[in-house]
């Protein structure tokens, strides 16, 4: 563990600020945005713009008229929430649903708890889960990639790899026969598959991860813990019975694992403070995700897993505290 080095003043301001970090995350999301535009075309553009604009507008309106404070929409947090929400939606979803989702994300997920810094749950995920439960039909019909570059609402739809797997297994088919119906690993990696706007291209999301790690916007702990847990857990299941449980690569590359582990779970406000806490939190997300996917009713469980672990963060922070400034380390205790 690093020891804290404290030097006497004068200190140099590192230039870190909420604003800088938020825009850093947004920059890290740009490759994924580009990928979604490439695969889904017009639909991805409309959904992203609608979500970002309505999130910023709702944030401004709530701060201005309900809370009567100075609107702080330029810190980029509302725009980030909007972008993350858009990345979690199918690209053929009607705009009015996006607007409801933005209102829920900002109004219920963020402002009701006291605004930026006080929200217990990741606002974008609150909006997404609300929509998933409220409009299950629209939220689970995914446009096919690459075929609908110029169409929006009338895009042809297909199933995601995860739902093909879930329904096939429920129907008594074996994993190996189902794997033929699913895009290959390299196709999954570069995003030739159906799904939410921002979650399809693992490669683009990894580029974002590397950028954020280099800029020290996030640390490696949460993404590694989440993905590592999923790999180990699904790997063990796969080894125990390869015909019933799909392998780890399939689980990591499909659905929202990459997007969730890199961009959703690492949200500053709703994740633990200490490195150890982050690892506990990441393992929890990984475990719950696999349990929901393999044994639960829904084909995908990343967003539920992150929200559930968000609820545990205060508890994690209570028992695994970051080292306090000036704290004397007791002998015998590492």
């Amino acid at each position: 563990m690093n020891t804290l080095t404290v030097s006497p003043s004068p200190h140099v301001h590192s230039g870190d600020s909420v604003k800088k970090n938020m825009y850093g995350v947004i920059i890290a999301l740009l490759p994924a945005l580009a990928a979604s535009l490439y695969y889904f075309g017009l639909g991805a553009l409309i959904v992203s713009l609608a979500a970002v604009i309505s999130c910023v507008l709702f944030e401004w309106a709530i701060q201005k008229f309900l809370l009567k404070t100075n609107p702080a929409i330029m810190d980029g947090s509302a725009a980030l929430t909007g972008l993350l929400l858009a990345f979690n939606l199918p690209t053929n979803i009607p705009i009015w649903i996006i607007i409801i989702g933005s209102l829920v994300a900002i109004g219920i997920g963020k402002m009701s708890f006291g605004g930026l810094g006080n929200n217990i749950f990741n606002p974008a995920l609150v909006g997404r889960v609300f929509l998933l439960i409220s409009f299950p039909v629209q939220m689970t019909s995914w446009p096919e990639h690459g075929k609908n570059l110029t169409s929006y609402l009338d895009a042809t739809t297909g199933a995601t790899p995860l739902s093909i797997m879930k329904e096939g297994l429920a129907n008594g088919e074996s994993v190996s026969s189902l794997m033929d119906k699913i895009p290959s690993v390299s196709e999954l990696f570069f995003g030739y598959t159906g799904g939410s706007a921002g979650e399809v291209a693992a490669a683009a999301l990894l580029v974002g991860l590397i950028f954020m790690l280099l800029r020290k916007i996030i640390t490696w702990h949460i993404p590694v813990a989440v993905i590592g847990t999923i790999v180990i857990f699904t790997g063990l299941l796969h080894l125990s019975n390869p015909e019933v449980y799909a392998g780890p690569l399939f689980h990591v590359l499909t659905g929202g694992v990459m997007l969730g582990a890199i961009f959703m779970a690492t949200d500053y406000v709703s994740s633990p403070m200490s490195n150890k806490g982050m690892i506990v939190y990441g393992i929890g997300i990984g475990l719950i995700t696999v349990i929901i996917r393999v044994f639960g009713a829904y084909p995908e469980g990343v967003s539920f897993a992150i929200l559930i672990m968000n609820g545990f963060v205060p508890l994690i922070d209570k028992y695994i505290k970051p080292k306090r400034f000036g704290e004397v380390i007791k002998a015998g205790k590492k």
Partner: protein
């Protein structure tokens, strides 16, 4: 003198609607509040059933309060309440089977509604017959009102209807409000709204 007493009875009755509303202020009886309010008519039905039990148990307990030894008062109250709940259950099953079907399990649960036992313990066992009946009526109707409001909000947002009348197409309804999580969300915002009104009033 008489006028003052009338005023007291009026405030005794009206406190259940706003100042000491069971749902919005005291947060009592949360189980039926969250469980049955998926539609306005369910909320109203449950509220009226509870009102009946509340009035009758307040009445009986006010009558026999001095006969019951202190140490066994809770079991005695529960028996009285359970009796009236069972009467309501059987009557509903016989004459309004449709309502009985939709309220189902929650009717027997009126027995353990904190509101009913709470009023018996806190009010009826200390006050006279008339005040107790009025208290039961006020608290009960206040409870019914709260459940109907909550039910209306959830039905309107969730399925686009109000008392079964279509307001807008169901496809646009936010299903989450018909389900349990929506009950918590709607109740939370209603309480916040009422607290705000109270603050400014």
């Amino acid at each position: 003198m008489r006028k003052e007493e009338k005023m007291n009875q009026w405030s005794n009755f009206s406190k259940g609607f706003f100042k000491e509303n069971a749902v919005f202020t005291l947060l009592l009886g949360m189980c039926p509040t969250l469980g049955v309010t998926s539609s306005a008519s369910n909320g109203l039905g449950m509220g009226l059933a509870t009102t009946f039990v509340l009035v009758m148990s307040n009445l009986v307990i006010a009558l026999i309060k001095n006969l019951i030894p202190d140490k066994v008062r809770i079991p005695a109250f529960i028996v009285v309440i359970a009796t009236f709940v069972t009467i309501v259950e059987m009557t509903m099953q016989a004459y309004v089977p449709a309502l009985f079907d939709s309220l189902g399990l929650f009717i027997p649960l009126i027995v353990v509604n904190c509101l009913v036992l709470g009023r018996a313990e806190a009010f009826a066992s200390k006050n006279n017959l008339v005040s107790s009946i009025i208290d039961g009526l006020g608290m009960g109707l206040g409870f019914a009102m709260a459940l109907t409001i909550l039910g209306s909000v959830r039905e309107l947002l969730g399925s686009g209807k109000l008392f079964g009348i279509v307001i807008y197409p169901e496809d646009y309804g936010m299903l989450v409000f018909v389900l349990a999580p929506g009950a918590f969300i709607a109740l939370g915002y209603l309480i916040a709204f009422i607290n705000r009104v109270k603050k400014t009033a």
